[in-house]
């Protein structure tokens, strides 16, 4: 075979591999972001210094090391990863869950309610709050699934509506909580917090907490359900081809409802962890936290796999943690939102790759026919 051919087949292989394309898309997002920073007259190097510091804790400018940054990056990654699973789980069953944000908000709200009003029993209190958060998330997702399966209501429209219902419902509920002002409630009792003394000790008092374990557990559960159970197989079959799945005896209506409920539980868990892990008081939300929306990007970058989504979540956590550092270096922190948005736009544009590959194989065929 000629060398030119091997190179061509290498490009094809790269473009056909989901993982490689994800890496390419992320690099493209950073590239365009870097160019934008340079175009407005800032030094892109400062952006990468901030990202490096949030990743490693090492400050290049003064040579100081602070492990707290690593802890914060890991802590920020937790809700991104869980909201990513929320999107990914539904996507595997062929559904588009834009409702991660609403499910996250309801999880956060219920965790705050139980956190402030629940039994002050060590161990039981936060566990109860987290379970409540997951259940309400599952309920929010499950409603969407039932509407979709029974009434053919598009899950895209219904989840968008529920996001805002959740936001305002959360305000109504949280304003009734003890000590509520326009933006916060009273402090949580110690028993409700997810804080972990060991993590705080090794990461120089970062906010890293027991939520990290829960996230780890969620990764295993996601992988196990998807790859190893009949339920996961049914869901994936439904996602590949709904009609074929129905004909092979897979209960499609139930599959859709269950997959949306589990998706909602992941986002609800994220809300519970943020409420009781990253804050000492309940918040009265005035806007979206955007973890749910970014979870869509996380799952898309991670190709809906357990490991891929986790890695993408860490990337987003790192970017979020780098925001304050960038602002300190005169780089507008919104560049991270731009990079995240660009990544999603490029993922949408990646359907062009399929068109390109089809066009090339057609041309190849033409060449072969003409050569004969």
């Amino acid at each position: 075979m000629k060398p030119a051919d091997t190179r061509e087949s290498f490009t094809s292989r790269m473009l056909s591999s989901d993982g490689a394309v994800s890496v390419l898309v992320v690099l493209l997002g950073f590239l365009v972001g870097t160019i934008l920073v340079a175009l407005v007259g800032k030094n892109p190097l400062n952006m990468y210094k901030a990202i490096f510091q949030s990743l490693s804790g090492y400050n290049i400018d003064n040579g100081k090391m602070n492990v707290r940054y690593i802890g914060e990056t890991l802590n920020y990654a937790v809700p991104f990863i869980l909201c990513g699973f929320s999107m990914a789980f539904a996507a595997r069953a062929g559904l588009f869950n834009i409702g991660g944000e609403g499910q996250y908000i309801m999880g956060l709200t219920v965790a705050q309610v139980i956190g402030l009003l629940g039994p002050n029993v060590p161990g039981l209190h936060w566990a109860l709050a987290i379970i409540g958060a997951m259940l309400i998330g599952a309920a929010c997702g499950g409603i969407v699934g039932i509407l979709k399966a029974k009434y053919e209501v598009s899950e895209v429209v219904s989840t968008i509506m529920l996001n805002y219902v959740a936001l305002y419902l959360s305000r109504i509920i949280c304003l009734q909580l003890p000590g509520a002002s326009t933006y916060k409630t009273a402090n949580f009792p110690e028993t409700a917090l997810l804080s972990n003394g060991f993590f705080q000790a090794i990461t120089n008092n970062s906010m890293l907490n027991n939520g990290f374990f829960l996230m780890g557990l969620a990764v295993v559960v996601y992988w196990f359900i998807m790859e190893k159970t009949n339920l996961g197989f049914g869901l994936r079959a439904t996602g590949f081809n709904r009609e074929a799945a129905r004909c092979s005896g897979i209960p499609v209506v139930r599959s859709i409802a269950i997959s949306m409920a589990i998706a909602g539980a992941f986002a609800g868990l994220a809300g519970g962890i943020v409420a009781l892990g990253s804050f000492r008081y309940g918040r009265v939300l005035s806007g979206m936290d955007n973890y749910g929306f970014n979870g869509i990007a996380v799952a898309l970058v991670g190709n809906n796999t357990a490991i891929g989504t986790m890695l993408a979540g860490f990337l987003f956590g790192m970017l979020k943690n780098a925001q304050a550092l960038m602002q300190g270096k005169q780089i507008p922190k919104e560049i991270t939102f731009i990079i995240q948005g660009l990544i999603v736009v490029f993922i949408a544009l990646r359907s062009a790759i399929a068109l390109y590959l089809a066009w090339r194989s057609k041309r190849q065929l033409q060449k072969e026919v003409l050569a004969k």
Binding site: V153, L162, Y168, I172, A297, P332, E334, F337, G341, V345
Partner: protein
């Protein structure tokens, strides 16, 4: 009763941008492309209008500055929607993903630009916004009226409108009689971006004095809800926009009514979304949506 009549100008102020955006979203879906990026497109339009107005006002231009700003907002909205057009029309991309990407991108781009232009996370405040006429009504209400009537006339009375609707119902049939599906869908998507950008400018120049990350606050999604609640028809969409806009207005002015003061104002914020959800369930099974909406058109495949 007098209080109710006194409310009409504020209701019109809030309804107009929602209606303008919803009409754009309707045109887009009628041609077969779903545009959930309306929220983000309103954001870039609002930012562009606010920034232009602040900068032009400083030069002492006076009233024309408002109209130039509105125009710039609309053009920037259209420019951004070109991304969605390229992705969903040329590249057969998933339209929901592309729309989500534009919404995320708009969040970043607007505030990033504000940081560069004004060194703050919002635009500088402008001194004078749009002025009301002798009835206390903002010109945006008349703009909205023109937009609705023009959209109805073009969609239902001109051959072009019939072609556009054909592209959303059955693109293959449209193609077979010589209609250029891609071109028509491009025009529709760009029109929705133009109108969303215009509406964003209307919001920022009538309801506030600067652009912040909270300026749009879900109105794009309310417009999206108005499209499906209005069953993809101009008269229905107008009715839905009025219903939802009035609910929004009540969230702000409920305090004037002693009877409503017992309810949290958030109840009015929730109404549009809940009504839409219920309507979708009640009307389920009867498919009012354009049949090919949201599906990429691939020539030759059926």
């Amino acid at each position: 009763m007098n209080t109710l009549i006194g409310m009409i100008p504020s209701i019109l102020m809030i309804v107009s941008p929602i209606l303008i955006t919803a009409v754009g979203g309707m045109i887009c879906e009628k041609s077969g492309v779903v545009n959930i990026a309306l929220e983000g497109l309103m954001g870039v339009g609002a930012f562009a209008a606010a920034a232009t107005h602040v900068l032009l006002e400083a030069t002492g231009l006076g009233m024309p500055s408002i109209w130039i700003s509105l125009g710039i907002g609309a053009l920037i909205g259209a420019a951004f929607s070109a991304i969605h057009a390229l992705a969903s029309i040329n590249l057969n991309a998933d339209q929901t993903i592309s729309g989500t990407g534009i919404n995320l991108l708009a969040d970043g781009v607007t505030i990033f630009a504000a940081q560069i232009l004004f060194s703050a996370d919002r635009t500088r405040e402008f001194k004078m916004g749009m002025q009301t006429d002798s009835l206390g009504i903002y010109p945006t209400a008349y703009i909205a009226l023109v937009v609705v009537v023009a959209a109805w006339f073009i969609l239902y009375k001109l051959p072009f409108g019939m072609h556009l609707r054909a592209c959303g119902e059955h693109p293959h049939a449209a193609d077979s009689v010589g209609i250029n599906v891609k071109k028509i869908r491009y025009i529709a998507v760009l029109a929705s971006g133009l109108l969303a950008g215009l509406a964003g400018g209307c919001i920022v120049l009538t309801q506030t004095i600067q652009y912040t990350s909270n300026t749009i606050n879900g109105r794009g999604f309310i417009a999206l809800a108005a499209v499906s609640f209005g069953r993809w028809r101009p008269i229905g969409v107008t009715f839905a926009a009025f219903l939802f806009g009035t609910a929004q207005a009540f969230a702000i002015i409920a305090n004037n009514f002693p009877a409503l003061r017992v309810l949290p104002t958030e109840v009015f914020n929730i109404l549009p979304y809940v009504i839409t959800l219920i309507a979708l369930v009640v009307f389920s099974g009867k498919n009012y949506a354009p049949r090919a909406s949201g599906k990429p058109y691939i020539k030759g495949a059926s």
